[in-house]
C-alpha cells in the first residue's frame, strides 16, 4: 500500500463518490468499509434527487440500480382519527429527465463499490478505520484495526456520528438537538400490485410523507416510498424532542403508524423483508468546526450535509456532490503537490460554488422551524377540523363556506403563536 494518494473512510455515498472520482482521474485510492460490502451499513428512507447530482457524476445513472422514478408526491397531515392528503403529479417529474428516484442503499452502494473497483479504486470491506495517523498535527494516513496505512490525504466519509471527524478535530460530537432517528420496514409486494395499489405506471413511483399525530407532538414524521418490488415504510423522530416527552416506545410508534387506516390497506398482504434504523443529521452542520485540515477532508453526513425542508428531505444528493468535490479538491492538491490545510481550502471554495453550501446556508435554520411541536399537533388538527366542516353534511342547515373559513381563520389568527410560527416559516 505504498504511495497512496488518498484513503477514503466509509462506503456510503460520499465516500464512494469521492473514491470513484479519484480513481477515475488516475489517483491511487483505497476505500475502507466496515461492513461486508459498501451499503451493508447504509440506510435511507429513501429517495435520491438526481438533478443536483448529475453535473458532478454525469455518467453513472443509465445503469444504476435505482428503484422507481418518482412521479407522484403525497403529503398527509394526520390528526387522531382524521387526515388531509395533498397529492401532486406532473410530466415535469418525468421529463426532460427523471427528477428523483426511490432507492435501496444496500444494493445501490454495493453496485457503486463495484464501479469504484472498475475504474481502479481499491475497496476493502470488513475493515474498520479505528484511528488517524498523525505527524506534527497533520493527518498522514489511517489506522485500520492495528494496521497503519499512510496516505497523502484522508477523506472522512464516516457517517453522521463521524468518530474520526472528532479525532481529526474537525467537529464535535453529534448533539441530540441536531439529529433524528429514521427507522423503517422494507415490505415486499409484487411489482404489478404496487402499480395497481398506488395508481402508478410501470416503473414509476410514489413518495409519500406524513406528519402530525403519528409522532405524538414530537418533531418528525412518517414516510412511504415505493421501490420496484417493495415498500419502504417508516418514521423519523427528533432525538431531543423525543427525550423531552417520551410519548411511547419507539418501535410502538411505528406499529401505531402501520395500524392507521390511511396506511394499513397500503401495506396489506406485504411480507416484511428487513427492519433498519439510522441517524439523520438535522442541522448537524453546527457541530462541524472546519471541513478540512492538514491532510484531511470531511464529506457527506459526517460534515452535517443534509436538509429537511419539510416537503423535500435531502441528504444523499449532498453526500454524492460533496464526495465528488472532495475528490476534485484532492486532485488539485496533488497537482500542486501540497496537501496542507491551505491547499485543501479549495474544497470549501468548491462547496460554496455548488448547491451544497449554498443550500445549507439558505436553509440551514429550517430544522429550528420544524422543531416546533405545533406543527405536529395543532396545525394538522386544524386542517382536519376545517376539512371536516367542508365535507360533512349534518342534520341541520349547513354553514356557508365563507363563514366557516372566517371562523377558523379568526381562531388561528388571534393566536399570537400562529404569528410567531408564520414569522419563523420565512426560513423555509
Amino acid at each position: 500500500m505504498e504511495g497512496l494518494d488518498a484513503v477514503v473512510v466509509g462506503g456510503g455515498l460520499a465516500g464512494l463518490a469521492a473514491a470513484y472520482r479519484l480513481a477515475k482521474d488516475g489517483l491511487a485510492v483505497i476505500l475502507f468499509e466496515r461492513g461486508d460490502h459498501p451499503g451493508s451499513k447504509s440506510m435511507t428512507g429513501g429517495r435520491l434527487y438526481l438533478e443536483p447530482v448529475r453535473p458532478y457524476l454525469p455518467e453513472l445513472w443509465e445503469e444504476a440500480p435505482l428503484e422507481r422514478m418518482v412521479t407522484k408526491e403525497r403529503i398527509t397531515a394526520m390528526a387522531e382519527g382524521a387526515s388531509v392528503t395533498f397529492e401532486f403529479t406532473s410530466e415535469g417529474l418525468r421529463r426532460p429527465q427523471p427528477h428523483s428516484w426511490t432507492v435501496l442503499r444496500s444494493p445501490f452502494d454495493r453496485w457503486f463499490g463495484e464501479k469504484v473497483a472498475e475504474v481502479g479504486g481499491f475497496v476493502i470491506p470488513q475493515r474498520k478505520v479505528t484511528d488517524l495517523l498523525k505527524e506534527d498535527g497533520k493527518v498522514v494516513g489511517v489506522v485500520a484495526e492495528g494496521e497503519e496505512i499512510p496516505a497523502q490525504v484522508v477523506i472522512l466519509a464516516d457517517g453522521v456520528l463521524s468518530p474520526l471527524g472528532e479525532k481529526a478535530g474537525l467537529r464535535g460530537p453529534l448533539d441530540p438537538r441536531y439529529a433524528a432517528v429514521g427507522f423503517k420496514e422494507v415490505i415486499r409486494l409484487e411489482q404489478g400490485e404496487i402499480e395497481k395499489r398506488f395508481g402508478l405506471r410501470e416503473g414509476e413511483g410514489l413518495a409519500h410523507l406524513f406528519f402530525g399525530s403519528i409522532t405524538k407532538g414530537v418533531f418528525g414524521g412518517g414516510f412511504l416510498y415505493t421501490n420496484r418490488e417493495s415498500l419502504s415504510l417508516g418514521l423519523v423522530v427528533g432525538i431531543e424532542a423525543f427525550t423531552e416527552r417520551l410519548p411511547a416506545e419507539m418501535p410502538e410508534l411505528l406499529e401505531d403508524f402501520k395500524a392507521r387506516p390511511e396506511v394499513a390497506p397500503l401495506i396489506e398482504g406485504g411480507e416484511l423483508l428487513e427492519y433498519s434504523a439510522h441517524l439523520i443529521p438535522e442541522g448537524a452542520h453546527r457541530v462541524v468546526k472546519r471541513l478540512y485540515g492538514d491532510g484531511v477532508l470531511l464529506a457527506g453526513d459526517a460534515a452535517g450535509f443534509a436538509l429537511n425542508h419539510g416537503i423535500t428531505v435531502r441528504g444523499m444528493d449532498f453526500a454524492l456532490a460533496s464526495g465528488a468535490l472532495a475528490a476534485q479538491a484532492v486532485k488539485e492538491a496533488k497537482e500542486r503537490g501540497d496537501f496542507s490545510s491551505g491547499s485543501l481550502a479549495r474544497y470549501e471554495e468548491l462547496l460554496k460554488g455548488s448547491f451544497v453550501l449554498k443550500d445549507m446556508e439558505a436553509f440551514g435554520h429550517t430544522s429550528e422551524v420544524l422543531a416546533h411541536g405545533r406543527l405536529y399537533d395543532r396545525y394538522p388538527y386544524f386542517l382536519c377540523s376545517l376539512a371536516e366542516e367542508f365535507f360533512r353534511v349534518g342534520a341541520g342547515p349547513k354553514e356557508k363556506i365563507s363563514r366557516t373559513l372566517w371562523r377558523f381563520a379568526k381562531d388561528l389568527l388571534l393566536d399570537s403563536k400562529t404569528w410567531k410560527d408564520l414569522w419563523r416559516m420565512r426560513e423555509l
Partner: protein, 91 residues
Amino acid sequence: MKVEEKLALGFFRTDDRSHIVLDQEACRACDLKVCLKICPAGLYSISEETGEVVVEYAGCLECGTCLLACPKGAIRWEYPRGGYGVQYRYG
C-alpha cells in the same frame, strides 16, 4: 408484530464482545431511563434478576440513538469491529 420478530429477519454477525458498555452506577442514578423507550430495536430492558439496565447488543442496528439520548452519558458505544454487526440487504 413484535420488534424481536422484525430483528430476527435481519442478518447479524455477532462479535463475542459487546460494542455497547453501560456505566451501571450512572444507570442506577438515572430516573428517566430514556434508553428503555428510545431504542428503535427495543434492545434495552431492566434485568429481572439484577434490576440493572441490560442491552441485547446482538440485535443492534448501529444507529447510535441511545448514545445521543442518554442524559447521563452512561453509554460507551462504538461501531462493532470490521465485518461484525448488522449487514443490511436492503437498507
